[in-house]
């Protein structure tokens, strides 16, 4: 539909204007190509690459390389307005693809570093890269973690980052789906490493894996990419179940202004509520109180024993 529109526009009564557009576009591409998104025509490539079965077995690793692209996912993704050739070499339009294109390497960071809108974003790709380099996935020597990269979590043809104003629940669901696609064990009630967490279902729906598995200190970016090892991950309820849910603040940045205005009060009530556990949890008071209670029980026990001895003595004296 939109393709036809744009075509008619281009071949319409103002060919000179259209030509001017093209000139401007080619001058500013790829960054501005997106501005005139409807002109993007990926059909040439998608003719083959939208076939779900398009794949081959890598002779080196023996792994199946999926070559299919889902057109719907792509058009809804962050890169939906780009043409294949904005990222991939234009020489791919020849088939069979030239052998040398096999060497083509594309990286999220490499490409985005050059873009000049960096200061308009909440996040920096360099920071993300640094964080990723320190994450468990990058540092792990587990064989399955070999070759872990941005693409392990982000399909450039489908990834769409969350935006302010989106439903928090949906954000949580989408983000967790990324992790759960590999971490199947977490979904198995019998082997879930989070057995200690009450209301696991509820947590899975309302908090992101990231909220517990990334450190608090790195401020600024809505998501930290420094996934922590299991033993360093957060298990402190109070970081969320308190009036200032530090861990959740990152997630709640996605709330829009109106959201805050309308939901702010409610959520305040929720988090102000006594019932949200952990709120009143204070390890210090708990330990102190349990120790005092324990000692009291011991003292009372000893006292009772002393009285019993006295009672026996009296009995013997009387006998």
């Amino acid at each position: 539909m939109s393709d036809r529109d744009s075509e008619s526009r281009l071949t319409g009564p103002a060919p000179a204007l259209a030509a001017g557009w093209l000139l401007i576009l080619s001058g500013l591409a790829p960054n501005l190509a997106c501005a005139e998104s409807e002109t993007v025509d990926n059909q040439g490539c998608l003719r083959c690459h939208q076939m779900a079965t398009l794949a081959y077995r890598d002779p080196g690793t023996g792994e199946i390389v999926d070559l299919s692209i889902a057109p719907m996912a792509l058009s809804h993704s962050a890169h939906g307005k780009l043409a294949c050739s904005d990222c991939h070499s234009a020489d791919f339009d020849r088939y069979p693809h030239p052998k040398r294109l096999k060497e083509e390497t594309l990286s999220c960071v490499g490409c985005h570093e050059d873009q000049d809108d960096a200061d308009q974003r909440l996040y920096r790709f360099e920071t993300i890269d640094e964080e990723f380099e320190r994450s468990v996935h990058a540092t792990s020597d587990h064989p399955k973690a070999a070759g872990f990269s941005c693409h392990s979590c982000h399909d450039p043809h489908a990834f769409r980052n969350s935006r302010v104003g989106e439903e928090i629940r949906q954000i949580v669901h989408d983000d967790n789906a990324i992790c759960l696609s590999c971490h199947k064990k977490v979904q198995d009630p019998l082997r879930d490493p989070h057995a200690w967490l009450p209301k696991r279902e509820k947590h899975r729906e309302s908090v992101r894996c990231l909220d517990c598995h990334t450190p608090l200190t790195e401020a600024g970016q809505p998501v930290s990419h420094r996934i922590l090892a299991a033993e360093d991950s957060n298990r402190d309820c109070v970081n969320c179940h308190s009036k200032e849910p530090q861990l959740l603040n990152r997630l709640y940045q996605y709330r829009s202004e109106e959201d805050l205005a309308s939901k702010g009060w409610v959520s305040k009530a929720v988090f102000n509520e006594a019932y949200v556990v952990g709120m009143s949890r204070s390890p210090l008071i708990d330990r102190l109180a349990l120790a005092v209670i324990g000692i009291t029980v011991l003292v009372l026990g000893a006292h009772g024993y002393g009285r019993y001895r006295a009672y026996r003595r009296e009995q013997e004296d009387q006998a």
């Binding site: 308190s242 006594a274 709120m279």
Partner: protein
């Protein structure tokens, strides 16, 4: 052997209802506080039961205070300053030492004073200080939305939460000691029976009254 009618019916009813509420509050409170441990009540149920019990406790406490204001029971909570230190020392010495020597009880309940000095100050502390604070902090939880953002510069809900928790622990401690101390009567069951029937039976009554 003497008999004294120390505990009027309303006091006994209040006492046992209060005791039951106490147990319920402890269990449901622990269920919320330590949520996740196996033997505890389901979270949502615990909340409902705890709140209901808390409201009943409040009603009970008000009833107790009114009862003490309007009946003669209140006089047991008026501290007799004369000889206070002496009586306190005697009672403490008895619990700490004399009781193991089969020494006679230094105190014998009478219609004028059913509580020994140590009991008296404990109960005053519990009923006139800890309980109202506990009840207040509980209600502050329920209406936390209306609290100011901060109290003493700290998030007010946190202050309330920690106060409620600390008071709850103190009252658990009281309950433990209380349960033990009631066995130190003439026989281990003397005081328990008194609270059930209202009648205090004491074989030494004549020595002191």
């Amino acid at each position: 052997m003497s008999q004294l009618y120390l505990y009027p019916l309303w006091v006994r009813v209040w006492h046992w209802v209060n005791a039951a509420i106490f147990l319920v509050l402890m269990y449901t409170g622990a269920s919320m506080h330590f949520n996740g441990a196996g033997w505890l009540m389901e979270f949502q149920t615990a909340i409902t039961v705890h709140n209901t019990a808390g409201i009943l406790l409040t009603v009970g406490w008000i009833g107790f205070i009114l009862g003490n204001l309007t009946t003669s029971n209140g006089r047991h909570y008026h501290v007799q300053l004369k000889g206070f230190i002496g009586r306190l020392t005697a009672q403490s010495l008895y619990y700490g030492y004399g009781i193991f020597r089969n020494a006679p009880h230094p105190f014998h309940p009478s219609a004028e004073a059913k509580l020994n000095t140590l009991q008296q100050i404990t109960y005053i502390g519990v009923m006139y200080l800890l309980m109202p604070l506990l009840v207040l902090s509980g209600w502050a939880f329920l209406f936390s939305v209306y609290l100011p953002e901060t109290l003493f510069g700290i998030g007010s809900v946190w202050v309330v939460a920690i106060a409620h928790l600390t008071l709850a622990y103190l009252l658990v401690l009281f309950l433990l000691v209380h349960l033990y101390v009631i066995t130190t009567g003439e026989t281990p069951m003397t005081n328990m029976k008194a609270m059930l029937s209202g009648w205090h039976r004491d074989s030494h009554q004549d020595t002191e009254a």
